[in-house]
Symmetry: C2
Subunit: 469 residues, 2 copies
């Protein structure tokens, strides 16, 4: 069955095989040679647009033209997140089995909005997320056989927004959203403030942090008291295991206790660092999670699952489903009506969903728990190596602890010297880093997490820092 209706421009099965092999080869060549490209695209605004026609083609173009344009049009505008010289932002690492799983998922072309619209999509997702609860040492009550449960979402921004909406929804009798308050640290990711704006929550209070950039719980308590006195209603506190700027870790247990005492929802953002918990030696950072109401992390950051694949867990699935569930006639079906299955469309904003659990399943099976542990430990070891080198050089200093794979340092010559160094590293074409600042202090973020990054790449980065400083 492979006739494309009345169109004479369809690809035959033989052509699909031939073109598919060509794409496999192209991707293999790309990944084999990704270190030969300048890590950051050198395109100027408009460079890629200038290569694109103003109007869509009326007639079909041959597949070979698309492939040619991958090299001619697309590649000059690509910033190589999969380069072993990628030390920017956080990683969005990937792996061959993940890429192949995404391909299979696209080939199947199923839409898993309901259990019944492809039972395998839902049941593999449920099982693999249960595996992850165990792999990461998360509270067992979050497994699907407990009161909680997990769901794949597109991004941590979506997951956090969903958690904020649920916390708002469960408190909405009589309290206007405009009077509600959500607390985050002044180091929290921008997605939380954005989530509050999107959810219409009136106040997002940034609680001050201590010398380690972790939330100061005394400041949190003072803020809560002041807001209550002013007639506002605290509804939620969002803590971070690994902030974006420096991977600082908020005191999860102390915040959880305050949340319990004050009747607030406690959402934990471990978008990047969640993957580290596959290794027991990092789990002290998540002490107190059993009191959390929701938790999110991104397998698409550091677990070799290509973007997008975020996971949200809730300690109690009821309020999430109550907030997100709308049941029109055309979505009703026997399995759902019987209550014997999970319909994930009731767990997030979008209705449709693709088969993202496949790549998570394939990655975990392809590397095994031990393989993922090995990768995490290696990246952390390499980050420690960077930090030791920085500490030994009297031109630089570390600006924060480095509990995971991120090292933040500055040039003792000051902000200008630090920014210049960051810019020079990025202009080298060999590496990418992220210059950032906290208040008035600029620093360079070096994030070790690309799956193919090895000691040699880190040493080359250090050589460049040495030369360009």
């Amino acid at each position: 069955m492979w006739e494309y209706g009345a169109m004479d421009s369809h690809m035959t099965p033989d052509e699909f095989r031939e073109n598919g092999y060509a794409v496999v080869d192209w991707i293999a060549d790309y990944l084999e040679n990704v270190d030969s490209y300048p890590v950051l695209s050198t395109a100027e605004p408009g460079d890629i647009s200038a290569l694109l026609p103003d109007h869509a083609p009326d007639r079909a173009e041959p597949f070979s033209d698309l492939m040619t344009d991958l090299d001619r049009v697309v590649m000059p505008g690509i910033t190589h997140w999969q380069s072993p010289g990628w030390f920017a932002y956080f990683p969005a690492n990937s792996s061959p089995p993940s890429v192949l799983a995404e391909f299979v998922s696209a080939g199947l072309g199923v839409q898993g909005m309901l259990w019944s619209t492809s039972p395998a999509v839902t049941e593999i997702e449920v099982r693999v997320l249960d595996w992850l609860v165990e792999m990461l040492g998360l509270p067992t009550s979050w497994r699907s056989d407990g009161p909680g449960g997990g769901v794949i979402q597109m991004s941590a921004s979506d997951a956090t927004h969903a958690a904020l909406v649920v916390s708002r929804h469960t408190r909405s009798d009589g309290v206007p959203a405009e009077d509600m308050v959500v607390y985050v640290s002044d180091q929290a990711h921008s997605s939380i403030e954005k989530g509050c704006t999107v959810a219409g929550i009136g106040h997002c209070v940034k609680v001050q942090t201590d010398a380690d950039f972790a939330m100061d719980v005394h400041a949190l308590e003072r803020s809560i008291a002041a807001d209550i006195a002013a007639g506002r209603t605290p509804i939620c506190v969002v803590s971070a295991i690994g902030t974006t700027a420096t991977t600082a870790v908020d005191p999860i247990r102390a915040i959880g206790e305050i949340a319990e005492r004050t009747g607030m929802w406690h959402h934990v953002d471990a978008a990047y660092a969640g993957t580290a918990m596959v290794c027991e030696e990092f789990r002290h950072h998540q002490d107190g999670l059993e009191m959390a109401d929701s938790y999110t992390f991104n397998p698409h950051k550091w677990m070799m699952v290509n973007f997008d694949c975020n996971v949200l867990w809730v300690a109690d699935r009821k309020p999430l489903i109550e907030t997100m569930s709308i049941l029109p006639p055309y979505l009703r079906n026997e399995a759902s009506d019987a209550g014997s299955v999970i319909d994930y469309r009731d767990w997030h904003v979008p209705l449709g969903r693709r088969f993202r659990a496949l790549k998570l399943w394939w990655v975990i099976r392809s590397y095994g728990v031990e393989g993922i542990q090995t990768m995490v430990r290696e990246h952390v070891r390499l980050a420690d190596h960077v930090a030791s080198w920085i500490e030994r050089d009297d031109r630089f200093e570390l600006v924060a602890a480095h509990p995971f794979g991120l090292v933040c340092f500055r040039h003792l010559g000051g902000n200008d010297a630090t920014r210049s160094l960051g810019a020079a590293l990025n202009a080298s074409g060999e590496v990418a880093v992220t210059p950032s600042h906290i208040d008035e202090m600029w620093f360079v973020r070096v994030s070790v997490g690309q799956a193919t990054t090895e000691l040699a790449h880190v040493d080359r980065l250090l050589e460049l820092i040495d030369e360009l400083a």
Copy 2:
């Protein structure tokens, strides 16, 4: 560059090629034989789970095991959205170039949150959405060189939610969200009511429809007057070009005029039928769009772009960006600061985004505008064929007009006979349809839109209807 750190379980380039070819062959075989599977999965709840281990594997498993499990574990739980016998819901159609583009996108593994994090991702998206404005006869002011602009989102639910949030945000000075009202027809998609709940908008009023299931504008005006009299604030009306139940078309121009007169945002949901506008003969259905504030359609429904790929256009990009933009230090960069580029993270809730424009670009180029027109016209012709057959048979009647590819009919024997027929068709394994109802009237939805569906498949459906009625 292809060493996976310290892991000994990585795939070598040669292994990736070999495994990749195997996946190409597997997908080609699947698509060639998709009509040999029962369209709906026959799995019972728990069947797939029972095939999955309780715990993640500690050690790496070979790729061949993953492929074996595609057939052993996954396939029994797949409902075949790509079958030519797929007449259920709306289509989520696809095509070989789209599947290959998704594979390339996964292989590149880039994250286009900012222009600078891969300029090609943004610039190709901007250009292709400008192409679509022209292809679909949309207002030219929505092009990127006008005040408006388009953005790819995950689903129409996300796009509609975003539009509702912007309409709430632009009206939020002094008006509590709990007092705001959004209007939809009683035939509108559930995503709008859900979007209102998620956005914290107090009231989602379902306006009654006329005999054609289109919004009754007089009823809309009465509702608005009553709400204003009761102290509520109308903020938005959502109209549909092609409702989910029957593809009814709301009077876009009349609703737009009311929205202008009353200062409401007008969002248009053309999730399914938007694709039809590639053919000029359908464009009378979108008359009045120049007054709309936002518009969404899904290339992943009927334009051969595999899920997910939704487009949201806004007539004025400013309020969208003002609502969604948060700029922390670690996301600042020269190009963005200069204002010379679009950063799409400011156009939706998620921060991260994958390279979805690639598949839209490849599909339009692979078929050309004429190829997509041919497909749409063929599906509409086949739907007309179904409708004529139904009309000629005195056991059945059409329950609604069929302006696009969807035909809704019922058995004159009543609701039980109609539901039995729907269930029998679905149990046949050869086709999938969606039984639905409006108020007390049950009917069967037959949606012709799978890219490979031809006259023979439609005739087989009619034979089955004839036999099973």
